[in-house]
Amino acid sequence: MSSADLPLHASVEVPPAISWTDRLHGWVATVDHKRLGVLYVASGLVFLLVGGSQASMMRMQLFYAGNDLLSPEVFNRFFTVHGTSMVFFVGMPLVIGIANYLLPLMIGARDMAFPRLNAWGFWMFLFGALLFYFSYVGADGLYGAGTAPDVGWFAYSPLTGKAFSRGNSTDYWVLGILVAGFGSISAAINMIATTLTMRCRGMTLGRMPLFVWMMLVVSWLILVAMGPLTAAQVMLLFDRFLGAHFFDTQAGGDAVLWQHFFWFFGHPEVYILIIPGFAYASEIIPVFSRKVIFGYPVMVAATCAIGLLSLGVWAHHMFVVGLGKGVTSWFVVATMLVGVPTGIKIFNWIGTIYGGKLHFRVPMLFCTAFLFQFLIAGLTGIMLAAAPFDWQLSDSYFVVAHFHYVLIGGLVFTIFAAIYYWFPKVTGRMLSERLGRWHFWLFVVGFQLTFTTMHAQGLLGMPRRIYTYSADRNWEIWNQITTTGVLFQALGIAVFVCAIFHALRRGEPAGDDPWNAWTLEWSTSSPPPEYNFAEEPEVKSRRPLWDLKHPDDPDWRHE
């Protein structure tokens, strides 16, 4: 034992009653990956409510043609803050937080490789988000009237130039994301190091849960994609503060350069957000089908393929710029190629379900809906990948429908699946099955009403980001169905919030392994002790708990 242990030794034997300040200090000073994971997820869910409220307000504004519930300025800020929040302050923390909690448990480790860096990453994310939202009180916008950023979540040049975006609302957009982005990069480094160096005995790369594999690829993507965004944002800061002209077309700068930088980040970001969804589905679907995942090596290969291919498709967001025949064709073909590994995954999940003994508990319900919805998301993606189709529908509600199908129908549904699945592990209590079903059905109905109809509005020519429209465009009825769907989604979320509070107070005790699952996190107690495992586990196959439960027929005989 080294001398460094001694000063803190006494603090271990804490009396049973802990004051709230001690408790708060415990959370602020924690370097435990599980507590940080909970902090990430909790803050992500809070920002989800905030971003959802902004979306609901926008939908109310669009309910009637010529409505004036929100002014154009407020509407612009809402869609900017909504988009930015959902990607950077909801998607990222949820994805990173869930991995933070589960990854060490799944590979049989006691913590992440860099526990303090882990804490730093979380606080950078939180302070970045708070700085961004501080713009509502701290920033001046165009004509001194604006507050929050209003340049859209991808903040195209030259709109972000000093001439068009006065005051400093755009600076808040840059700085908030910049700060949070450093946190994401640190989280990615941490996950890679943890996965590569902290695996327990016997946990070869080929025996890692697919969740861990997929988060490894996600970390790689964060590492590659986040840098260019940060660089571009620093360049934009130079433009805005020091009079540089990187993106200033009137002084020899290049506005399209910003688009390249942004989407070189922006497209991989889509995969950074959706591959974790694949990861949850790949853990949950086998357990509720009572079958081993179909095609494990192919799943790994497909994930790696997506990790590489998705780096070469960014300009499909820029077809309307006029990139020229050669470049356009390249990005059309490359984009369609991504459909191959993604399609393989969908087949593998179906192959897992096929012939299985299905248990449609709430996590599985959400995963089932995910399969259907993500399929549609992928198909509209292929449609939009065809450049001539995109020329027609770029910046229309069809595109809005497409990416909400990806990020809600794909990611949010699997996040709900993950929360229902792992909540018992985190808290030791089950979420109510009955409330969960209400949540699921309300949310499915709401989701379909809202986002399926958006395809129609897009095909009818309704551009995204308009704050109102005239009655003679025949868009009103579609918008009204869309907005009605929001009501169902909001009810679903309300049920979800109730389910969480209900479970925390009176939830059924979960036990160590409520789902009869197979990965290591279910071998420790619920909630796990601070040290995760008293003894380092040893695994012999991809399903260590299966081996223990079925000594007559362990997996390692077949793998």
């Binding site: 460094a4 730093w120 970045g128 008293a534």
Partner: protein
């Protein structure tokens, strides 16, 4: 991972009885560092004082963090959980595990377990081509007064038909024969190949799929699209005979392919074998 970390990650309670488990000590210094850095950036849009204070906080945080790991990493010892809270050992379930066998309960387990060699597809296609031609020529001879009628019609898919109309369709024409044979042979061989690949994956009777279902589907496709592909042909095709000739193709091709000896797919092989890194051997190969 250095020696100390390795020790920390794997130390068991037995190695240090009564001491609990060593974990990294909690510290707020990363939070302070993050707060300071964020304030440095926030100063750009608020006031330079914010940046200055932020820089001080960041330095304090960074220094504190530094002291957390150097010269020695700070640890706490966390006592083991109360025994009643600890995870129960994973219990073995009673009862053996049933393994799905090939073909059991309609499950094929692997898709496909074995398949026909591709060459059988070509042979089947050729056999089908002959059968189909015989039926078509019979139809031509019986109802059109010329066995060349079908092949001329087929050739009209590629070359514009002569203005002379029906009389020309009944006459013998070397060029039309060549073109017709080319279309017929290439389509037949390709369809034969598709049959060879698909038949082992379809459940149930080969005769049903190859002889009836597939020809009917194909006929339906032709019926809906021929007007566009070749208006000339669409005008003259006798659909009953068309379907019969398709079925003749399907049956002939199906029988030839089905008779070919199946070979095992590589799906049961380990990756190294499939990749050609290891030579086959042992029981299965």
């Amino acid at each position: 991972m250095n020696e100390e970390q390795r020790h920390e990650a794997t130390e068991t309670p037995a190695q240090n009885p009564g001491q609990g488990i060593r974990l990294p000590a909690p510290t707020a210094t990363p939070m302070l560092f993050a707060l300071g850095l964020s304030m440095v950036f926030a100063g750009l849009v608020t006031h330079w004082l914010v940046s200055s204070v932020g820089a001080l906080i960041a330095m304090a945080g960074a220094y504190g963090w530094w002291r957390q790991v150097l010269p020695h990493e700070q640890h706490v010892r966390v006592p083991l959980q109360d025994p009643e809270k600890r995870a129960l050992p994973v219990e073995a379930r009673v009862g053996a595990v049933d393994h799905l066998q090939l073909g059991e309960g309609g499950h094929r387990v692997r898709l496909p377990a074995d398949m026909h060699p591709y060459t059988s597809g070509f042979r089947g296609g050729a056999a089908g081509a002959v059968a189909m031609a015989l039926v078509a020529m019979t139809y031509g001879g019986l109802f059109q007064g010329s066995i060349w009628f079908p092949v001329n019609l087929l050739a009209s898919l590629l070359v514009a038909p002569p203005a002379a109309g029906e009389a020309a369709l009944r006459a013998f024409d070397v060029a039309n024969l060549g073109i017709g044979l080319f279309i017929h042979a290439s389509l037949s061989l390709l369809v034969g190949l598709v049959y060879a690949a698909l038949l082992p994956m379809l459940p149930g009777r080969v005769a049903l799929w190859g002889g009836v279902v597939a020809p009917c589907l194909w006929s339906a496709v032709a019926w809906t699209s021929l007007e566009v592909l070749s208006p000339e042909m669409a005008q003259h095709v006798q659909w009953g005979w068309f379907v019969v000739s398709q079925i003749a193709f399907g049956l002939a091709a199906g029988v030839v392919i089905e008779r070919a000896e199946r070979s095992q797919t590589m799906q049961t092989w380990p990756l190294a074998l499939r990749a050609g890194l290891e030579a086959g051997g042992g029981e299965d190969a």
